[in-house]
Symmetry: C2
Subunit: 201 residues, 2 copies
């Protein structure tokens, strides 16, 4: 089996949501597995002294236009959430906890969280809402709520974010690493595709 594609994302990032759709087709084409890694973009931004895209005076307006145009380009359903961005601790911790037991369920859960936020405009910072989505993926609802509040899961996620930001130097989302090569941004998925096709250049 070839190396997987590591996909680093924040549930609150529009480009990560768009990238999550784009990477699936590319991974399939090259017979690569996608390993999903939620992290807290806010932690990376703090060190970089950057801000959520929409908070920049001019780049903010451009970005809102570009999210929408890029979604239409690839026929990905997308509605910019009114309340943006969100801190998505319950969803991120929940992903980690579900993934301990079943990667495929965790990915389905992540896709449903993204859809809840970027299609249905629901509040993915709300642990009860997130638990409903987990339950819809066949996860026990009360076990889920207990897990995302447990010290063990909290500590595991905190340590994972530290490793991703300080260790792996992931400063934005989506961020992909395959065969040791890093690609940042939904707009770099095409180059990642070319890289795998050509074996680098």
């Amino acid at each position: 089996m070839s190396n997987p594609i590591d996909f680093y994302f924040d549930f609150s990032s529009p480009y990560a949501y768009l990238g999550s759709h784009l990477i699936v087709a590319v991974a399939e084409k090259h017979g690569r597995e996608v390993r999903w890694h939620p992290f807290m973009l806010g932690v990376a931004m703090k060190g970089e002294k950057t801000f959520p895209l929409t908070q920049y005076p001019m780049k903010g307006d451009y970005s809102r236009m570009d999210f929408d145009r890029t979604a239409r380009r690839h026929k990905i359903p997308f509605y910019m959430p009114v309340d943006f961005p969100k801190v998505t601790l319950a969803a991120s911790r929940g992903f980690l906890w579900i993934a301990l037991d079943n990667q495929a369920t965790a990915i389905a859960f992540a896709q449903n969280i993204f859809e809840a936020y970027f299609v249905d405009n629901r509040d993915i910072s709300d642990a009860e809402m997130v638990a409903d989505i987990a339950a819809g993926c066949g996860v026990d609802r009360s076990d889920f709520l207990e897990a995302v509040q447990s010290s063990a899961v909290k500590a595991a996620f905190k340590s994972s974010v530290e490793d991703i930001v300080s260790g792996k130097k992931v400063f934005g989302a989506p961020y992909f690493v395959v065969d040791g090569e890093a690609f940042w941004g939904a707009d770099r998925v095409g180059q990642l595709d070319d890289w795998l096709t050509e074996g680098g250049w």
Copy 2:
């Protein structure tokens, strides 16, 4: 004749240099003229509270890698300048002045300035060096040096930058506008190409 592609750039921006190469092929393919507009990225950054890419702790290292990888991808000669970024007032004012007389000469001059910086690692903030490049394009060297120091050309460039940043809301480089549609970044030239092919979506 179809609408031109407006290309906004700073002579000191690596992605603008790469974008200048990429846009030529796309413009030719679609029978569009490219209108070059130098501006001062620093002025836009001040309002946006952003910094030159290489000054971000993590994004800086990634960007240096990505400049190089993207240049190799498209077989564009590229050597990251040691002294970066540069304030390129003489080159930008000189472009405006040359363009008054001859657009094609101004574009050849701009391409040579980019090459001097990103291939030959020369100091494009030095007016004497910039005048040598102008002379190499058939422009009178002493007229050039006089022009870039004249109040009229200084004022014209200042007003052009204000219009680009405050009026047209250009916050980064390269920035392209065609048929009223804006595309920011060398990595959006592919989408611009698709947009022209499909007539939007």
